[in-house]
Amino acid sequence: MTEIQATDVILAATVAADDDAAPRQSVWQRFEPTILGTGTIVLLLLVWQFLPDFVPMKAGTKLFFTVPSHIAGTLWTMFATGSIWAPLGVSASAFAIGLLLAVVAGLPLGVLLGRSATLNAMVDPFITAFNATPRLVFLPLLMLWFGIGIWSKVAVVFLGAVFPLLINTYEGVRNADKLLINVVRSFGAGEWDIARLVVVPNSLPFIIVGLRLAIGRAVLGVVVSEFFGSQDGLGVMMVRAASQFKVDIVFAGLIVFAALSLIMTGLVKVLEDRLTRWRPQHSNAG
C-alpha cells in the first residue's frame, strides 16, 4: 500500500531539514519508473503477439487479427521497397505547408491582437468559435472549394494549427513585463524596438507551447482529411488497406504518423532548448 501516511510527511520534513542526509536511492529505486513503464509496454506487446496461439478464434476474426511481428515486417517492407515514400511525401507536404502557413499567419496576428485590445475584442468570438469546432466539419465544404487535391488538406491542417499558435502568441505578448517595456523605453526605444527587445523574446516560450499543440492538431488534420477527402497520401493508403482487411498496413500507417508527430515534437524541444537558455528552470509545463 502506498497510501500517504502521516509519518511520511513528518519524515520528509525531517530529511529535508537535515542537510547532511545522503541520497540513499538504490539502483532499483532510480530506474523503477522506467522499468515498470517499458515493462508494461513490452508485456502488452508480447501478449498481443502470442494471443492467437493461445486463444481460439473464429476464421472471420483471424482474417484480420494481426500481430506486432507482422506489423514490423510490413513496416520494414514498406521502407525497404520504398513504397512508403510517395504517400508519406504527400502527407508530409500537406502537413508542412499547412503548418508553415499557420505560423506565418498566426504569429503576426497574435502579436497584433496582443497589442490592440479593441481588435482582440472584435476578433475573439471568431477565434473562440473556430478553435472550439472540430476542423473536420469544414472538410466537405473545403473539398467543394479546393477539390480533393492537396489544398483541402492544407486548409484543414491550417485551420487546426493556426489557432493554438495565434492564441499562445497573443498570451505571450500580453504577458510582456510592463517594467521591462518602461526600462527599454527610457533608453530611447521606439515601438518597433520594444517589440524586438521585449515582446518577442518574452513570447517565445509561449509560442513554443503553441507550436507543440499545433503539431498535434496538424497531424490529426492530415489523417482525417486523407481519410475522407483525398486521392493519395498515407491516410488514403490506410483506408484502402482497411477495406481490404490488410490490417497491418493500417497499424503501420499509424506508427508512421505517430513517428512524424514525435520527430516534430522532438525538433521543437531542441529549438526550445536553444532559444530559452536564459530561463532559470526547465519547467515541463505545456
Binding site: 518602461n182 526600462v183 527599454v184 533608453f187 524596438d193 523574446p201 536564459w278 530561463r279
Partner: protein
C-alpha cells in the same frame, strides 16, 4: 545661477480607470545642482518615484515646468538614465548585452559598445560575469548591471528609484559604498529616492523630505559630512543628529 535640474510648480494627477483620481504631485518645486547627490525621502505614495519618472521622460506633468540644463523635457533622452528598484534586466540577455542596451539603441557600433561595456563591467566590479544571464546573478550583482547599464550612455543625470530596496541589509550596505566609489569616478548628478534615512544621509550632499500625497517639498537638509564618506561616520553624533532632525520632519507625514 540656475540649478542644473529645476522643477517649478509641478502638478500631476493620475486617473485610473475604475477608481477616483489620485493627486500625485502638487506645486512641487525642486532645484538640483550640477554634480550634486540629492536624496529624496518621503512616505509611501508621496510621488517621489513619480517625479523621477517625469524626469526620465516617461510621464508628462499636468502643469508646471521641469527643466534640465535650461531645456524642457520632451520624452526620454540619453542625458538621463534610471536605475530601477526591481532591476529591470532583460532576462534573455547576458549581463554584457544588458549593459549595451542603451548604446545599441543609439546605434553605436559593436566595437565601441563592447569597449564601453568592458570598462563599466570593471568599474562596477563584475569582471568575469559579463556572460552570465540575470537569473544566474545575485541581487547585488543584478543591480550592478543596472548601474552599469545606466552609466553606459554617459548620461548627465542618474536617477535612482530605491535601487537597493530589493537587496538584503548586508548587500545594501556594500552597494552603497560601491555606489559612492563609482560616483566619485563618474561624476554625475544623482537623484536618489529612498525610504531609508540612514542611506540618504550616508550617500548625499543634500536630503529633501517630501510631504505625504499630494507631494510637495517639505524641507531640505544639507549634509555637511566630509567626503569620501566612511562607514564609521554612521555612528557619529553628527550623523545621528541629522537622522533625528530628518525623522522628526518625516514622521508627521507617515500614516500607518
Amino acid at each position: 545661477m540656475t540649478a542644473y535640474i529645476q522643477g517649478r510648480n509641478v502638478n500631476l494627477t493620475f486617473r485610473p480607470p475604475n477608481r477616483g483620481p489620485v493627486r500625485a504631485l502638487q506645486n512641487f518645486d525642486i532645484d538640483v545642482e550640477d554634480g550634486e547627490f540629492l536624496s529624496i525621502v518621503g512616505p509611501s505614495g508621496c510621488g517621489k518615484s513619480t517625479f523621477l519618472n517625469i524626469l526620465l521622460g516617461l510621464i508628462k506633468p499636468d502643469s508646471g515646468d521641469v527643466l534640465i540644463h535650461g531645456k524642457k523635457i520632451a520624452g526620454p533622452g540619453t542625458d538621463r538614465a534610471m536605475v530601477f528598484q526591481e532591476f529591470g534586466l532583460l532576462p534573455w540577455r547576458t549581463a554584457q548585452n544588458n549593459i549595451e542596451l542603451g548604446l545599441e539603441l543609439k546605434k553605436v557600433p559593436a566595437e565601441k559598445r563592447h569597449a564601453v561595456a568592458g570598462r563599466l563591467i570593471d568599474l562596477v566590479g563584475l569582471s568575469g560575469f559579463e556572460g552570465h544571464y540575470p537569473h544566474e546573478l545575485s541581487g547585488g550583482m543584478k543591480q550592478r548591471v543596472g548601474l552599469a547599464r545606466a552609466l553606459a550612455t554617459d548620461p548627465e543625470v542618474l536617477l535612482m528609484d530605491e535601487p537597493f530596496a530589493a537587496l538584503d541589509a548586508q548587500t545594501r550596505d556594500l552597494m552603497q559604498a560601491e555606489l559612492l566609489r563609482v560616483w566619485r569616478e563618474a561624476r554625475k548628478t544623482v537623484l536618489f529616492v529612498t525610504h531609508q534615512i540612514d542611506e540618504a544621509i550616508y550617500l548625499s550632499d543634500r536630503v529633501m523630505v517630501m510631504s505625504k500625497r499630494p507631494g510637495r517639498a517639505k524641507k531640505i537638509f544639507a549634509i555637511p559630512l566630509p567626503r569620501p564618506r566612511e562607514y564609521e561616520m554612521r555612528v557619529t553624533p553628527q550623523f545621528n543628529e541629522l537622522k533625528l532632525e530628518i525623522w522628526n520632519t518625516l514622521k508627521d507625514e507617515i500614516t500607518v
